[in-house]
Amino acid sequence: MSDSTRVDAMRQGAEAASIGATRTRTIVLTLIGAAILLAVLKPWIPSVLVRLPDDAILPWADWLDAGFSWLQNDIGLIHVTRTISGWLGFLTDAAANILYGKARWPRLEALPWSVVAACSAVLGFWLGGWRLALLAGGTFVWTALMGQWRWAMETLSVIAVAVPFGFCIGLLLGMCAWKSRRFEEALRPVLLVLQTLPFYSYLLPAVIFFKVGPTAASVATIVYSMPPMILMTIVGLRKVPPDVVEAGRMSGCTRWQMLRYVFLPSARSEILVGLNQVIMLALAMVVLTAFIGMPGLGAKLLAMMNSFKLGRSFEIGVTIVLLAVTLDRLSKAWVVKQPEHFERGTPWWQRHLFLLLGIATFMLFYLLSQFLPILDEIGRRQSLSRGSEIDTLIKGFLGISWVKAITDFIRWFFNIWVLIPTELALLFLPTFTVILAMTGIGYLLGGWFPALVAFLFFSAVAQLGWWDRAMLTLHSTLTAVFLAMLFGMPLAIWAAQRERASRWMIFACDTAQTFPSFIYLLPAIMLFGITPITVILAILIYTMVPVVRYTVEGLRGVPREITEAADMAGATRWQKLWKVEFPLAMPTIAVGLNQAFIFAFFMVIIAAFIGTRDLGQEMQRTLAGTDLGKNFTLGFSVVFMALSLDIAINSWARKRREILGQ
């Protein structure tokens, strides 16, 4: 009886779904059809639909300029921000004093490198045994041996301030969002805008409001690295099981005690994953923030690149990756490590064995370095840097004739037959065609809401007045994401079947994400010239990371019972992959795809360093002459395009999840 009603209900549901599907298809087909029709009839349709005429574009840049000057001068926001940057400056200076002896409070001497290396090895050992001890100690030994100690410490002095702030503010905002639905609803769009606003738009406000130097750099780092912290906090707090909450209530906790002893400890893993993301993103920003005064590795890297020293910039890149991996592994080990419990009566020294060991190491190496200067500081001339040898190696490789032949072919094929024609095609399309097509795609993916958003946002891009450049940006982004799927998916599927391969793949993703993209821009230019394919390749490395990572994780996350059931039903490997694993992993893969788009929009603007003709190039121009208003109209063109894709993909993933009952 109950079975038959359930079957009925399911049948009804399926019918409703199929009616829904037909309706969706009609609407999407109408929209796309209209879009194509407009493109075909281009010579005959009114010119307003082809491109918005100049006099229909409102003076957004002037209004924004007026707005900024009102904020800065009339209501005196600059005094508030300058006070904040004063405090931040005090903190970064203090960290700088401890790490490399900058002449500021508390006026200590610089720590010898060997002390830092040895103590981090002890920390690594406590958190994760020999392997981590080796990694943590080895990273700092490498840094010192390469003669990069001072720069690395300059970088870390800012990171050491930015990361705790990013963590605390993120945690606080996350808790507020968890407490108040309305706050969360207001916060989400702000976070999305912060994440998609191009880096070039942060540059000028950071310099004006927060003073060029470590302070502006730490503000930019905090803002950029905070969003995942907020999101993870919300996820973690939501997941706290009701019985735990109940237990807390019954023991008569106050609200503060509930938070401190019930919610936060239960959400510990998610919160610490958030911390880990903060660290990774902060290190990914090291080079970019050098434009606004971040001292250390990033600034050195830029200087090396401008005097064409590939080898030494490569070495700096390795250091940044090593630092990122070390901090990442240490923080992950901290997540996994549960609090230790000792039997009553364990002596104090036994409970704090590692603390004591750390202090002893500190003393030992501090004393040693007083007698052995090499343990205190390694000068440039003593270092093992092999910059010029690597230079010769790289240049030699690029000069080999078959390498040249292959890259010339790739360059010719992609530029002439793929990129330039598709680019021209996208530029040919009337503005209204693109708007309608995007609305159609939005409807197809997520229904009327994403469709409306896509319609409004792409119309806004047209209204902001940089349509052609926006299309070039969109073109690079779409191509890069498409190629990332084309190459990344098979790689991820192959790796997901194998335990070791997936671990290596994730490691490769971490490396690619933190290895400063600037370093491979130069070899890419040498191989492929300053052409569209170079831009795509530079973005591709970045966009493949989330595609691979989330596909691997999605496929490996498919419950074992389900794959076993498929095996028992006699599915072949392909059938299992296509009919079972893939559909179940799809929502996770969609998250990866969404990330890929956001990364691509981020990188396409950075690729202006190679030489592009899109929004990024125009933004670069606004930096000369500090043209804030124009800078933000360009920045928001990117934001609108990124947001409409983000919203569409996310609502598609949500619908899939609901269908799968996840």
Binding site: V212, G213, T626
Partner: protein, 315 residues
């Protein structure tokens, strides 16, 4: 000579008390950018200030956004204002107020179309621009559609390469590199098989030492070539001349600097470097692989006679 400089050094060492009375103890913030000569020059001047008993700090910044920081007093000065590359940002900041021109260096700057020497083998008529135009096709790339390709500087340097190609009717397409590093990568890639290239370049610059080359000789610059169409060979177009072969290299100072650090400001207005001196600074870092601080030490030690008069004139 040696005696004199020793004497000057002695006065320099004894003056801190006097100088400190007048100049503020707050650190003088000097911006450094991402090319070697500017970094070394900033370190040289920083060390001169330290000899005068002043506190100095360096901050790395973007070379365009820095003028906003000078204007707000976040950094005290800027030692290399290139007419071509930063003239626009500088003038813009000048009109908003807060910073001023603190005099020129002796060095002159030139920024224009340039080629590495090996290019001349394929196009012997160089450096004349018409000869360059006649062998345009050897500069063609897969994407340039048969025309020659000229690699211009980043758009924010406002170089007007495209306008010049149109004004002079040249058979070239102009592609903008995104950064100085991108220009070097292109020259570096052309080097192994001596492929002819023509790119934007400037002097004084480290690249001269790495890749010998020459500037293309365009119709000589006339005043007003960028604002009056009648100037230059094409009567109907702007930008139909080469860039000025003697562009300025200025120093800029924050308006408040003269009151806060009078003697440091005085030295800033007095000091002036020449082309060979700047090239030497860049060479110490770019080819001799010294760190900027060491390079500044070395340069100062070798040039006491140059800098001491500036210091003694102000203390």
């Amino acid at each position: 000579m040696k005696k004199l400089s020793a004497m000057v050094l002695a006065t320099a060492l004894t003056t801190p008390l006097a100088a400190a009375a007048a100049d503020s103890d707050d650190p003088i913030i000097i911006p450094i950018h991402n090319w070697s000569s500017q970094i070394v020059m900033s370190n040289v001047v920083g060390q001169m200030y330290e000899e005068m008993g002043l506190n100095v700090e360096f901050v790395t910044t973007d070379s365009q956004a820095v003028y906003e920081s000078v204007r707000l007093g976040d950094v005290a000065l800027e030692l290399e204002v290139w007419e071509g590359a930063f003239g626009h940002s500088f003038r813009e900041a000048l009109s908003k107020g807060g910073l001023h021109d603190a005099g020129d260096h002796d060095a002159v700057t030139r920024e224009d179309w340039w080629y590495p020497m090996w290019t001349k083998d394929a196009c012997p008529g160089l450096p004349d621009w018409q000869a360059l135009n006649d062998c345009a096709e050897i500069f063609a790339t897969a994407e340039s559609g048969g025309k020659g390709r000229y690699l211009d500087g980043p758009v924010d340097w406002l170089k007007h390469g495209k306008e010049r190609v149109e004004a002079l009717g040249m058979n070239f397409v102009v592609v903008n590199a995104g950064s100085a590093a991108a220009l070097w990568a292109e020259i570096g890639a052309a080097e192994p098989n001596k492929r002819p290239v023509v790119v934007f370049n400037w002097t004084p610059n480290f690249a001269e030492a790495v890749w010998p080359g020459e500037f293309v000789e365009f119709p000589a610059w006339e005043d007003g070539c960028d604002s009056d169409p009648s100037k230059g060979p094409n009567p109907d177009a702007l930008y139909d001349c080469g860039n000025p072969a003697t562009g300025y290299l200025k120093k800029a100072a924050w308006d408040g600097m003269a009151d806060k650090w009078p003697s440091a400001y005085c030295v800033l207005t007095k000091l002036s470097f020449t082309n060979p001196q700047i090239a030497e600074m860049a060479k110490l870092v770019d080819t001799d692989e010294l760190e900027p601080e060491e390079a500044a030490d070395e340069w100062l030690a070798a040039n006491r006679g140059v800098v001491d008069p500036w210091i003694s004139a102000c203390t």
